[in-house]
């Protein structure tokens, strides 16, 4: 079928204006499904007709409108005009709720901030305490290790123990020399010695063939103080000397004395 010729035959106009016979209309509706251009041509004429009709409209008297709407009034579904009012009620409620929530939220902010500050201060204090405890624990731990080392030294069978007792008038004083018979290193344990006054320091002497030999200064040591290496000695003594030590002992400042063996 020549669809172009069909489109231009006037059948479209006849169909759109409602003048086509039932048979013509059925034929057109069938062809329309197969030929999109036929549908487009129909739509074009419909649009032209509508435009022309709107341009040539003759307004009816207003009474017709009034009568018509009065007649249909009960049939309209009037849900739509209600919508904006309902929306506003919701909006107003939402605004009130938002303000209320803001006030509550602000109050809670103040409350929680003060709670936060308290907690933060407590935390800082606890943190400091923990740190100092940890430091103390480390010190104690180190000391314990040193003590353990000292005990090992003192328990060594090669160690010669020389107890130095208080000189006359200083009988309460006591110190012990541990002398390694293999390495000849000297370790000192200050059992009972008064605290050295400032500017003064205890000095250990080895008496070798009647002569005092400097065996080292006694500092602030933890348990055993490792002093000098002394190859030979018959006795040991401790005097209080000026800080840094003296070349010869000050005899009247002798605190303890002990013989080897």
């Amino acid at each position: 079928m020549d669809i172009r010729a069909y489109i231009e035959s006037g059948v479209i106009e006849s169909y759109v204006l409602g003048m086509a016979t039932a048979q013509e209309a059925a034929e057109l509706e069938m062809l329309r499904m197969q030929h999109p251009e036929l549908g487009e041509a129909i739509a074009r004429f419909e649009q032209q007709l509508e435009n022309a009709a709107l341009l040539n409209a003759v307004n009816p008297p207003p009474a017709v409108r009034e009568a018509l709407f009065a007649k249909l009034e009960s049939e309209f579904v009037t849900a739509r005009p209600m919508t904006p009012v309902r929306t506003m009620t919701g909006l107003r409620f939402a605004a009130a709720a938002a303000i209320l929530l803001l006030v509550i939220s602000s109050a809670l902010n103040v409350y929680f901030y003060s709670r936060f500050r308290d907690a933060n201060e407590k935390f800082a204090a606890l943190f400091t305490e923990r740190n100092s405890l940890e430091a103390n624990l480390n010190i104690t731990h180190t000391r314990m290790l040193d003590m353990y080392g000292n005990m090992q030294l003192m328990g060594d069978p090669a160690m010669i123990k020389v107890s130095m007792t208080g000189t006359p008038g200083r009988e309460q004083n006591l110190a012990t020399v541990f002398w390694d018979s293999k390495t000849r290193d000297i370790y000192l344990l200050a059992n009972k010695l008064p605290q050295a006054p400032s500017g003064k320091q205890y000095q250990l002497w080895a008496l070798v063939d009647g002569k005092p030999v400097d065996a080292g200064m006694i500092g602030d040591c933890n348990g055993l103080c490792r002093l000098k290496n002394i190859p030979r000695a018959q006795a040991f003594a401790i005097t209080l000397e000026r800080e840094g030590g003296s070349p010869t002992p000050t005899m009247d400042q002798m605190y303890v004395l002990g013989k080897v063996g």
Binding site: V16, A53, N56, V58, L68, R80, P81, P84
Partner: protein, 195 residues
Amino acid sequence: MLPWFNNHLSLITERLEAVKKYTENELVLLLKRQDRAAFTYLYDNYSGALHSIILNIVPDHDLASDVLQEVFIKIWKQIDTYDDGKGRLFTWILNIARNAAIDRVRSKSYQNNLQNRELTENVYDSAGATRTPTDHIGLRQWVHKLKDEYKMLVELSYFQGYTQDEIAKMLNMPLGTVKTRLRTALIQLRQIIKN
């Protein structure tokens, strides 16, 4: 403050509703949901065009108004039968208006009334202006521009609603000729409408 605002918002929404332009799909959908605003829009936009076609067929203004009201009630009640696959909404309502107008003219009461009038008018007014549809409004003004042989066919077919068979018999013309001439007339009519 808030109630005042609410009222104004409702007023503004109503006014927006009034000037709102629907697409044809929206309009049909809302009409099928019995939406008042959509029906108002339909009436305000198309009542003039439908009134004009009704006046082409029913020249009496009061009767034409009556037919127009009837047409809109029909549209309202039958919108569910409208099938947008078959054509535009306007094509559908234009045909409702044309058919309603032709039915009115063919009705017994109308015919009786007309005869009565003719009797009186022949006495008092030989021109008979009130029953002759005017040639200068609506579709008729374009039909009026056609050649006489076409004009007659369109008059009988479109405005008076006779079938092609009936016209052939009435004018004592072969059916094929009626068909061909009518189609030619419509093609020319289309050209006139286009301009």
